[in-house]
């Protein structure tokens, strides 16, 4: 269970990215965060694995405080949290497999990891992760030679290779076209349901949020302004969250209605 207790983040410039957030996320839930750019979505996600430190309050994971963790404890926490990025964040010059193996770094001794002598079990985990996202045949291909959608799936495989309890996804499909976005979101949804991994996703396409989110929360200027199910979230709700009328940019389009038949 992830719990935010009066969490606030103020950046050095004086920007209040997160204000007094109190929130509980039970294990295994698929939660989508929506809100305008700068509303605090990225900050919230990065507060969970400590990439952004809190200014006030606390966030705990199964009772362990992120804020009070020392560097070693923080790394241990992070090893159980997989993260997926909008820009994929792959090392382009090296192979897909090496990228996925980054997910095994936390359990690999420093000397081994420097030389690249990963244990056979670790390579197996990485391969299985690649199989789960359906891209294992590209294991030895350079990451730069893959399409955007394929690169993001490698990103997901890297997160899976950590065998995480939580997956954080920061705008995972913002750089992808609609059909590929569906593939990625479906993968995330399946991983959430089959492996029971708590999944927290930032999205800025509202129709996508409704299709894939079990629970939707809305942020506006760092504050939690909506917390409910996808069914309850209609246009009025979104208008409240955004503080303005919806525009074409907020919806992915008719492609969003594409069926997610599994």
């Amino acid at each position: 269970m992830i719990r935010f207790e009066n969490a606030s983040v103020t950046y050095p410039g004086g920007v209040h990215a997160l204000r007094d957030l109190t929130l509980e996320i039970p294990d295994g839930q698929m939660m989508v965060i929506v809100g305008l750019s700068g509303a605090g979505k990225s900050t919230l996600i990065r507060a969970i694995n400590g990439l952004v430190p809190l200014s006030e309050g606390d966030v705990t994971i199964d009772g362990v405080s992120v804020r009070r963790a020392n560097p070693r404890q923080l790394r241990q926490l992070r090893s159980k949290i997989g993260m997926i990025f909008q820009t994929f964040n792959l090392v382009k010059r090296t192979t897909v497999l090496n990228n996925v193996l980054m997910g095994r770094l936390h359990s690999t001794g420093t000397l081994r990891s420097l030389l690249g002598w990963y244990r056979a079990e670790d390579v197996e985990v990485a391969m299985q992760a690649l199989e789960r996202v359906g891209i294992v045949e590209k294991a030895y291909v350079r990451a730069a030679n893959l399409s955007g959608g394929q690169q993001q799936r490698v990103g997901i495989a890297r997160a899976l290779a950590q065998q995480p309890k939580i997956i954080l996804a920061d705008e995972p499909v913002a750089s992808l076209d609609p059909p590929t976005s569906h593939v990625v979101m479906r993968d995330l949804q399946r991983i959430n349901r089959e492996l029971k991994i708590t999944t927290i996703v930032n999205l800025h396409f509202l129709d996508l949020a409704k299709v894939y989110g079990e629970r939707i929360i809305g942020l506006r200027q760092g504050e939690l302004v909506y917390d409910g199910t996808a069914a309850e979230a209609d246009e009025n709700v979104f208008r409240d969250i955004y503080g303005r009328s919806l525009t074409a940019d907020d919806l992915m389009g008719e492609a969003a209605a594409a069926p997610a038949t599994l």
């Binding site: 199989e131 359906g134 891209i135 294992v136 045949e137 399946r190 074409a248």
Partner: protein, 287 residues
């Protein structure tokens, strides 16, 4: 394409070639280490020797401060040699760089030019100085300047040509489409794109030439190298220490200024490229 797919695991690609190459390199290094003409005892005595020299230069009685004005004078001469040499090299290399660029000159001309530039480049400045410039201009700083200038033409010419080859062809096409003459096309279509980088190269070359001009002093082409060698051969280590301090100080100062100017030039260029295009919000226009 969905998950748990039909793809089968690929075989691990062979790294035999890579490993062989690495092994070969290791063998070469080992051979060099084993056959070079020195005995291990020397290596162990080296730190002691260095410590001793360092002590004599800076610590026993301190460096020879009274020599400071003279040392500064010689360093200034080295700086002037480097500056003039770089200026000479820059002026000559700019047109040569254009000739050497495949996308500006014909394939044949550019190839020939690149080979000529490579040939010039391969001559160490010292060799140019002693073999050609000193006989021509006699001993002294002019020979040094010419040697540096000629060598710089080689390096700068190659770098200039490479930068020109890397430009965006769009503006050049646009310039041609307006019916401009070839020289004008180069001046307005190509030059603006490449000038900041080229000037940055000139400054970097200046920094390198400062070090080179110290070297040229040793063979008699003017500058501070000569007095340094004298000081050391006559065991006047305090004087050598003073000279070293002057060299380090002057080099760091010039490097810092030059580096600052280089950064400003590059940043200035990038700002102009990204520009300040303000696109009206869709809502603003349709509301």
């Amino acid at each position: 394409m969905s998950a748990l797919a039909a793809g089968s695991r690929p075989a691990r690609p062979s790294r035999a070639k890579r490993n062989l190459a690495l092994l070969g390199a290791a063998v070469v290094v080992a051979l060099c280490a084993l056959t070079v003409d020195l005995d291990p005892g020397e290596i162990l005595r080296l730190p002691v020797g260095v410590g001793l020299v360092f002590y004599e230069m800076f610590l026993r009685e301190g460096p020879e401060w009274s020599y400071f004005p003279e040392a500064l004078g010689y360093m200034l001469e080295s700086l002037q040699i480097a500056w003039l040499g770089t200026v000479l090299g820059a002026i000559i290399s700019l047109p040569l760089g254009f000739f050497g660029a495949k996308n500006v000159s014909s394939g044949l001309v550019s190839n020939v030019m690149r080979q000529v530039l490579n040939a010039i480049r391969a001559f160490p400045e010292v060799v140019l100085a002693i073999a050609i410039m000193i006989p021509i201009a006699g001993l002294g700083p002019v020979a040094g300047m010419l040697a540096l200038g000629l060598h710089s033409v080689g390096t700068l010419g190659k770098l200039t040509a490479e930068v020109i080859e890397g430009i965006d062809p769009g503006p050049v096409e646009a310039a041609r489409a307006t019916g401009a003459r070839p020289l004008q096309v180069q001046r307005w279509g190509v030059l603006p794109q490449v000038l900041p980088e080229i000037v940055a190269f000139w400054l970097y070359r200046f920094e390198i030439n400062i070090r080179a001009s110290a070297i040229l002093g040793v063979v008699g082409a003017g500058g501070i190298g000569f007095v340094l060698q004298q000081a050391i051969s006559f065991n006047r280590h305090e004087r050598a220490g003073m000279i070293i301090l002057v060299v380090i100080g002057a080099t760091i100062v010039v490097d810092t200024i030059s580096g600052w100017i280089r950064r400003r030039i590059i940043e200035g260029a990038e700002a102009k490229v990204s520009g300040e295009l303000v696109e009206p919000e869709l809502a603003d226009v349709t509301a």
